[in-house]
């Protein structure tokens, strides 16, 4: 009886709500005019404040770039400018050395539109401030493209005012408190969702992170021995989905990542609105210390970061308005625009082993070598596993070079350590492994600099924009700090090393360090912007991609096109309190496109949980391995590697391989197209029809009529 009444009420409510949106669909505010469309969406523009409305042609549902109901909006004028203005600028008053907001509501301005089919060029000018730029907007089947070319930015009186930052449609997809169902998508680790619910003022601070990681050359390195680092943003995207209205977008930063931050404000943080955007910073205001202990002067960076701002909104409606739908759309974008290398798409399932070769410990005078895995022992491990049926192996060697894992930094050439067996044994290992179709990849870190072991490089290190040497505490007892090589130097030694690798017939290289750093810095007394660092690293990656099969450690997205596989990839997000759900957005986007290897399984506190994550995400596990016992590492800088001994992991490796191999056999080359979470249960749909159900709970459960035991999974073939 109850059920019946409930169903009736639901139908009634649905009818009512449909009626409601039809009424709403009827009226686009008078200030707005239709200026562009594609097969699925209409785009309306309000000229004076450059506000837009996106409308799904199929459902009539809309997303606004401005707050709709300004009459009841709370906040001061600055916030109200933010709520409405299509573009929000910050500029620096050079005299006062302070940043000020300029927008289309509070600041005198002119916008001259030049329309063309499905787009416009808008010449924006804040005359009183003396800053002008052009906004180019185009709409096509792939969505909306917004560009602000660097060349169009003019600072008439750069001595008076200079451009600090731009935000493009910061309030696109905004919602008030819990009025609209849906979520904001954060590019945190694998990806996280903040539900558009009323938080009752629970959260105090927004999500604000630089794309491609903290600009350590600007903000310095903050290290805390007791806390782990939050995940970096490696994918330059953010999104909003209104689930009930079935409309959503993925904001994709095509160019200008070097200056971009992602900001997400859940309601209750400063305002009552939920909003997320990318903020592009051109110049930075910073405090330049004048002496070692006291005194500082406010300073502005010497020149603006050099980039064309290019933001692309991928739009989804209907059943695709979902994080998995957005991830799929992004995947398609990556493939079509050659942002990913498709070489190893079909690589059969394998697990990644990373061997630790050599470390160093202190001696009475100097240091001595601690041998953890010789080349021969590595081969012993590989052949044991191979004979036990683990035939899919991908191997990387860390600390293989003279000086070892922390003593041999940066890598300055092909120098296999003699204590591990020298070049002869190394070549044997590679040759033997090749016969069994196992790639041996050598780890190359061209970024980290051990000044104690390599004093010649110590005076050419990277500095912050306040000219302080960048130092990174190791908390180790052999080498207490590490520095960084500036990109120019990295590129130089990488070129030399590539030559030696080629000569010795090395085919696989694992690049770490440069893969996950983007920052502004100082070198040789000059400020260099983050765009130049990205350019240098791109050159380096391209150089290696030409001759080697390259895998990179958690690489930033702009380097993916040079990689055959990615490793050390996050399995989850940072776990922010305001996040309601973590989603494997990254894994979905790259599924079927590139092999992804996880962060080390060794140091996970719950192997069973970790195993299910591998199954859910189609990720391949990665283990750090040594032949010797970890006791040997306890007086080295790697004393935090507390469990890597092969003997202890052998059975686990074989077991995981067998299980995961069986799953991956059904997934060969397929991509994820659907993902659903319901409490402890997950349902993952692959485009070849395979569905995987997972249960992270402590009790057996049923989903879609499929019973899944506790802490287990079930693979269902679509044909069944």
């Amino acid at each position: 009886m109850f059920a019946k009444t409930g169903a009736f009420l639901m139908v009634l409510m649905m009818l009512l709500s449909m009626g409601a949106f039809q009424a709403q669909a009827a009226e686009i505010p008078a200030e707005y005019a239709l200026i562009a469309d594609n097969s699925r969406f209409n785009l309306y523009l309000r000229e004076d404040i450059m506000a837009i409305i996106l409308e799904s042609k199929a459902s009539g549902e809309r997303m606004y770039s401005s707050v709709e109901d300004m009459a009841s909006a709370k906040g001061n004028n600055t916030w109200k400018g933010m709520y409405q203005s299509g573009i929000v600028m910050e500029y620096i008053e050079n005299e006062k050395k302070s940043g000020i907001q300029a927008d289309f509501v509070n600041t005198p301005h002119t916008i001259q539109y030049a329309y063309r089919k499905n787009g416009f060029d808008a010449a924006v000018s804040f005359d009183a401030i003396g800053i002008s730029f052009t906004v180019i907007l185009d709409m096509d089947e792939a969505g909306i493209h917004v560009t602000v070319p660097q060349s169009s930015i003019l600072e008439k009186d750069a001595k008076a005012n200079t451009l600090q930052s731009l935000q493009i449609f910061p309030f696109l997809g905004n919602t008030l408190l819990g009025e609209t169902e849906g979520y904001m998508l954060l590019p945190d680790g694998q990806g996280s969702l903040i539900y558009l619910e009323d938080n009752e003022g629970q959260f105090g601070a927004p999500y604000s992170k630089a794309v491609y990681g903290t600009r350590i050359g600007v903000d310095g390195i903050t290290q805390n021995e007791y806390l782990t680092e939050a995940e970096k943003i490696i994918m330059p995207v953010y999104g909003v989905v209104h689930t009930k209205k079935q409309i959503g977008f993925l904001g994709l930063i095509e160019e200008g990542e070097c200056g971009a931050d992602i900001l997400a404000y859940p309601n209750g943080v400063r305002t009552n609105y939920n909003w997320i955007c990318a903020k592009f910073t051109y110049r930075m205001l910073y405090s330049q210390p004048t002496g070692p202990s006291s005194g500082a002067v406010d300073t502005i960076t010497d020149y603006p970061r050099k980039f064309d701002l290019k933001l692309h909104f991928l739009l989804q409606d209907g059943n695709d308005a979902h994080y998995a739908g957005l991830a799929s759309a992004w995947r398609q974008y990556l493939v079509e625009n050659n942002q990913v290398k498709l070489a190893d798409t079909q690589k059969p399932f394998d697990i990644r082993l990373e061997f630790v070769g050599l470390e160093k410990e202190n001696m009475l005078i100097g240091t001595r070598e601690v041998v953890m895995t010789t080349y021969q022992q590595a081969w012993e491990i590989l052949s044991q596993l191979y004979d036990a049926g683990v035939t899919g192996l991908s191997v990387s060697y860390r600390g293989w070079q003279k000086g070892g894992l922390s003593g041999g930094l940066p890598l300055t050439g092909y120098k296999p350590a003699d204590s591990l067996g020298g070049n002869g044994e190394m070549q044997n290992l590679i040759k033997n492994a090749a016969e069994r179709d196992i790639d041996i990849s050598l780890e190359a870190d061209f970024l980290s600099l051990n000044g104690q072991e390599n004093p010649i490089y110590a005076y050419q290190n990277m500095k912050t924009i306040t000219t302080k040497t960048l130092e990174w505490k190791t908390y180790g007892i052999v080498y207490e700090i590490m520095n960084y090589l500036p990109p120019g130097r990295s590129l130089g030694i990488a070129e030399g090393t590539a030559g030696e690798f080629r000569r010795e017939g090395i085919e696989n290289v694992s690049i770490t360090g440069i893969s996950s750093l983007v920052t502004d810095y100082h070198e040789g007394g000059k400020y260099k912007d983050s765009a130049s660092m990205m350019q240098d690293y791109r050159t380096l990656a391209a150089l290696y991609a030409d001759d080697f099969r390259v895998s990179m450690a958690v690489p930033n997205a702009y380097l993916w096109q040079y990689c055959s596989s990615l490793y050390d990839m996050p399995l989850s997000d940072s776990g922010y309190l305001y996040v309601d759900q973590e989603v494997p957005f990254l894994s979905i986007a790259l599924s079927g496109v590139m092999p992804l290897y996880s962060e080390y399984v060794n140091f996970q506190s719950d192997y069973a949980y970790c195993f299910l994550q591998m199954v859910e995400q189609g990720m391949r596990p990665s283990f750090l391995m040594t032949w010797e016992d970890n006791q040997k590492l306890k007086n080295t800088n790697s004393r935090n590697l507390y469990s890597t001994r092969y003997e202890l992991f052998q059975d686990l490796l074989i077991d995981w391989y067998e299980q995961l191999h069986a799953v991956h056999e059904q997934l060969a080359g397929a991509s994820i197209i659907g993902h659903q979470a319901d409490g402890n249960l997950r349902k993952v749909q692959w485009d070849n029809g395979v569905i995987i159900y997972l249960n992270y709970g402590e009790l057996a459960s049923v989903m879609d009529g499929v019973e899944i035991p506790a802490m287990s999974y079930k693979v269902v073939n679509g044909d069944e």
Binding site: E200, Y226, L227, G575, K634
Partner: protein, 675 residues
């Protein structure tokens, strides 16, 4: 091995639970050298709850895990007590704005009566499970309670005899003990924190008069929280640092635990009764778990520095633990309850300890092996395995585990067994070898007397004795035998030189270094893997030169006869007994156990004493002083050395300031005018 692994994997499967995201903090455990080392996550945050059935928390101050499996939260800001489940369901609400004003402490007895410390009402209020107030307790009027003593209950516990132990704000006499059996009668004060007596206070005590002393207020540090286990042991924590930050009080009120790690501002304490594990948390989210002996098992600092990550805290106020080692933590600023589950790793550690405490050593072997598999550097697992193997009479293996665990007592005992065994097997051969050697020497001596076949060797030795520097070095031994004569030789006859003294000093340094870095494990106090040769050199040569210069300065104005050279040589040669000691120690520390430690202590005492004696005598004879004057001179010299050190320090500080000043001006000029 394989079976074990599979069993372990199954165990992990059973223990696991749906964790969220990356763990924001690193977990540390005690390393073998007494420093913290990183280890696997022991507790992971599984849930943060701010609302129970729509009811939001407001500045919660305390939490209690009751026998019915429910949690009771003192929802202080909302003037109520909530009975909830760990998954976020609201069971019942107790109290109202009328009955409760500021409930800050809570305890639930086995009949599920709820005892609330209401700070605002200055009363303890008791609810029955139906939510009715069945009793209130106010300020005791007992004369022993103290005239000025206030009653502002903030936390409380109840023991099985019905005695309440109440922490009252501002009352520093100790824990207030009231009997519920006799209508709240005041029983007495219990286990006050000893007052923190600073060095300055101690100094004052020495010089102040009685009147002055009476005016110094020494107030004991007040207690922040209290817990009780099923055996009736009372646990308290306070804001103060030091090993008394957490105490376990027996019935008599005396402390029975000395934790080997501590922190400040500790706000919460909880005890896992079955095992005796004690949890403390400070206001900044620094969590520690101690075993029942006070050894630190795990520690993690989960402070929210503004990043708002799950499992970090702004201001921890209360904590509870259930029988499965699940932790429940309330934070007053976040107004939240965070649930921490032990990981498979922590479960293995707990299980091993439980077996061990129950005396089931053999059973503890398997969980210890599991722990070592996940973290082979985990000290307790190494020590635990050592203990197990020791009991299995596998002494050599036990030694290795004890060594890895840094457990010197265990190592000593295992080594004693190994050594006894070795001696047992080899003593006979050893005696034979000594006897043969003795005979050989005798025979050779006899033969040599007749045939002089060793003549070339003795010739060389004699010749060497005539080389000046060797002669001078040999003369240092003469100082030990006849200091008076030797000093005369040094002073008047040039029997020693700077060169020889430097050589002795260098030998001393070599012996010092050898003794420092090669001392056997049992007697070595240094951290492994750390070598500080430059510092050692600075220390040895620096102190030596300082002493020599100070002595010389004082002697030269006190009519001493000695030249700088003489004092230098005298001091260097006085070090010979210490060199001998270092060599003896080097051998002994590698073959003795703690049972024979006496020999080393004795040798040290004799040699150091001899060295000091030689130094005093050298100064005396070289300068021709009386003994009394010599002692005066030496004291003066030590004082001089102190002043020189202070002077050097002042010069150093000033020059750093100067450099800073100049570089500041340079920096300012560059940034203001050049750029």
């Amino acid at each position: 091995m394989k079976k074990l692994l599979i069993a372990w994997f199954v165990l992990l499967l059973l223990c696991s639970n749906a964790q969220a995201a990356n763990i924001p903090y690193r977990t540390y455990a005690m390393g073998e050298d007494g420093t913290l080392v990183e280890t696997q996550t022991a507790y992971e945050p599984v849930r943060v709850i701010t609302r129970f059935g729509g009811e939001k928390l407001k500045t919660p101050q305390d939490i209690f895990w009751a026998a019915n499996g429910h949690l009771y939260i003192a929802d202080t800001g909302n003037k109520r007590i909530l009975e909830v489940t760990a998954s976020g369901d609201l069971i019942k609400e107790y109290g109202s704005k009328k009955t409760l004003k500021e409930p800050t402490g809570i305890f639930v007895d086995d009949e599920l009566n709820i005892y609330v410390a209401d700070k605002g009402n200055r009363k303890v209020i008791v609810f029955n499970p139906d939510g009715d107030v069945i009793k209130t307790y106010g300020r005791p009027d007992h004369p022993m309670y103290g005239e000025k003593a206030t009653f502002t209950p903030v936390k409380l516990v109840l023991d099985s005899r019905g005695n309440m132990y109440i922490l009252s704000q501002g009352n520093t006499n100790g824990v207030i003990q009231l009997s519920t059996a006799s209508d709240g009668e005041f029983i007495g004060y219990f286990g006050a924190n000893t007052s923190a007596v600073s060095f300055a206070t101690k100094l004052k005590k020495l010089i102040y008069s009685d009147d002055q002393l009476n005016n110094i207020n020494v107030i004991p540090v007040s207690l922040n929280n209290i817990a009780i286990d099923t055996d009736g042991m009372i646990y308290t924590v306070s804001a103060k640092e030091g090993t008394e930050f957490m105490r376990r009080l027996n019935v008599a009120g005396s402390n029975t635990i000395k934790p080997d790690w501590f922190t400040s501002s500790t706000k919460a304490v909880a005890v896992h009764s079955p095992s005796g594990s004690i949890y403390t948390a400070n206001i900044n989210g620094e969590f520690m778990e101690f075993n029942s002996e006070g050894s630190l098992l795990f520690k993690f600092n989960a402070y929210d520095s503004g990043d708002q990550r799950t499992g970090t805290f702004r201001s921890v106020t209360g904590m509870a633990v259930d029988n499965d080692y699940t932790l429940y933590v309330v934070d007053e600023i976040q107004a939240s309850l965070t649930v921490f589950k032990p990981t498979g790793f922590a479960d293995s550690v707990h299980q091993a300890f439980e077996y061990f405490q129950a005396g089931q050593y053999a059973q503890s072997k398997e969980p210890w092996q599991q722990v070592l598999q996940m973290n082979s550097l985990f000290t307790y697992a190494n020590t635990g395995m050592g203990d197990v193997l020791y009991r299995e009479n596998k002494y050599e293996e036990a030694m290795e585990y004890f060594y890895n665990g840094g457990n010197r007592e265990g190592y000593s005992e295992a080594f004693w067994e190994v050594r006894a065994d070795w001696l047992h097997r080899n003593l006979f051969y050893f005696i034979i070898a000594v006897a043969v050697l003795y005979l050989l020497i005798k025979v050779l001596g006899k033969v040599n007397q007749k045939h002089h076949f060793l003549a070339p060797v003795t010739g060389i030795i004699k010749k060497a004795g005539r080389i000046e520097i060797l002669y001078q070095l040999k003369y240092s031994l003469y100082l030990m035998r006849n200091p008076f004569d030797a000093c005369y030789g040094i002073k008047r006859e040039g029997k020693a030189s700077y060169r020889s003294a430097w050589i002795v000093l260098v030998i001393f340094f070599a012996a010092f270094v050898a003794n420092k870095y090669l001392t056997g494990f049992l007697f070595s106090m240094r951290s492994e893997g750390v070598y500080e040769l430059p510092l050692d050199a600075a220390l040895v040569f620096g102190i030596f030169l300082l002493v020599v210069i100070s002595l010389y300065l004082v002697c030269s104005i006190k009519d001493g006869e000695a030249h700088l050279r003489d004092i230098f040589i005298g001091c260097a040669y006085s070090l010979i007994p210490v060199i001998i000691l270092f060599l003896i120690r080097l051998v002994l520390t590698n073959v003795l156990t703690y049972n024979e430690q006496f020999f080393i202590t004795l040798a040290s005492f004799v040699c150091y004493g001899f060295a000091v004696l030689l130094l005093v005598l050298s100064v005396m004879f070289l300068n021709d002083y009386s003994l009394k004057k010599t002692i005066g001179i030496i004291i003066l010299s030590l004082f001089t050395a102190l002043i020189i050190t202070a002077l050097l320090f002042v010069i150093y500080t000033l020059s750093v300031q100067l450099v800073n000043f100049i570089s500041s001006i340079y920096g300012e000029v560059v940034y203001r005018f050049v750029r």
